[in-house]
Amino acid sequence: MKIKEQAEVIGQKKLAEGVYSLLLKTTISAYAVPGQFISIFSNDGSKLLPRPISICEIDKENGTLRVVYRVVGKGTTEFSSLTEGDSVEVMGPLGNGFPLEPGKAIVVGGGIGVPPMLELTKQLGNDVVAVMGYRNDDLFLADEFIDAASELIVATDDGSVGVHGTVVDAMKENDLVADVIYACGPKPMLKGVAEYAAAKNIKCYVSMEERMACGVGACLGCVCESKEKDDHSHVNNKRVCKDGPVFLSTEVVL
């Protein structure tokens, strides 16, 4: 069930330098699961393509979705000026989402890969260690992970808080083990997490990113390389928007 509609802006606030949290009232919330994303469209007729943004929180009761995004270009700049009562075109829910596996979990987020892990952490329940990596002490959403996870471990690039280094450094330092690892962040980080998981023999899911056009699997714009021939494409390519964004770390080339 995919919906394209005008969502109402319930509110927006700045979480950190260039990072915004946007709360939208949309019927998409009824169908969304953690790890899925929505496409947000610009109001400007010269910017046609959707901006894919992961779902950070789902409130089915109030019919809202929360997304957290970083301003990096024209589209996200435009979104950052949305205020309560505005409307914005959205499409979703898109992609497959994280499978909720039983047992102990580690959720790993890096940079703007932090927000998509929040709803997952909440839905996984209590036995979750969250490992979140930031540039500096601007620890957006950290307080919410403290509430949602059993434990929060922070890594920062500049060493200002927590482990000085990457999330993988933090995982190693704490010698974390679990039944499953979920990760979202830049590709080098995903690669590191996947290697850690492989070394420890832990099942690992990664959420991938690629430039998108359709967002629904039709255009083949957003593929990532798969290790095996893909069932749909019959070549070594999987569509991030439709077959992903969540893949087993062993399925894709990182």
Binding site: K4, G45, S46, L49, R211, C214, C219, C222, V223, N237
Partner: protein
Amino acid sequence: MNTKVTIAGVEFQNPIMEASGTFGSGMEYSEFVDLNKLGAVVTKGVANVPWAGNPTPRIAEVSSGMLNAIGLQNPGVEVFCERDLKFLESFKDTRVLVNVCGHSAEEYIEVVDRLASEKRVDMLEINISCPNVKEGGIAFGQDPKAVEEITRLVKAHAKQPIVMKLSPNVTDIKVMAKAAEAGGADAISLINTLTGMKIDVERQNFVLANKTGGMSGPAVHPIAVRMVYECANAVNIPIIGMGGISTWEDAVEMILAGATAVSIGTANFYNPTATTDILQGVINYMERKKIDDINDIIGIVK
């Protein structure tokens, strides 16, 4: 009111199709539109064997448009027949155009031969204009002799009527249209994408892994209208017009310029119901303007 149009003996319930490569084989967008409402489903290009396409990034946004360098990724004609054509079985009201690609005449013919027995295929659209294929592809579409030659070869093998899809990256589109006509094409479709490039000034590198990509979307529409107009006044075979159609006005513009049918491509990406929205807009226009038959306005602006 009549919205039916006929191309090479094939009747379409209305002139609204989607453009090859933007709609898969219709599966994904069937969540948004009833494929049975469309004049035709035009499939993504199909080759004799699976093609992996280009590395990513394959997509870049540009002002009022986009660049793509998919590189004709496709699962090959065998899988296509078994899966995609089977899926399309159930949509009886819509026609099916299969877009065919290849690196060489032989590869085109292999696909055409394989499709010959497929009842669900109403017409073949021969893509001689994709800018993302290094061999064949653009070379065919930019040389009138090659266009005539490949048309003749394909026509000799095809069991379904053939539509030659022309590249806009040429000095004179009329020459290419005439070459296709001379080679025996039943119809032509245009425009494919215009070759463009985007450079990321921060990274000082190309945005697309392939360096160049095909430009589509509203930005190319005025060029497409001009080319459809030129061809309509140069050849006697019907034209399927496309390029940046985003609203019903764009579709009507193309029909007035001389297109018997129109395809909607990039617009699907920002409006998944673009095809049926545009169809409704065209119908409203006909009602308002008291146009009883869509055929009465094809190419009337001269």
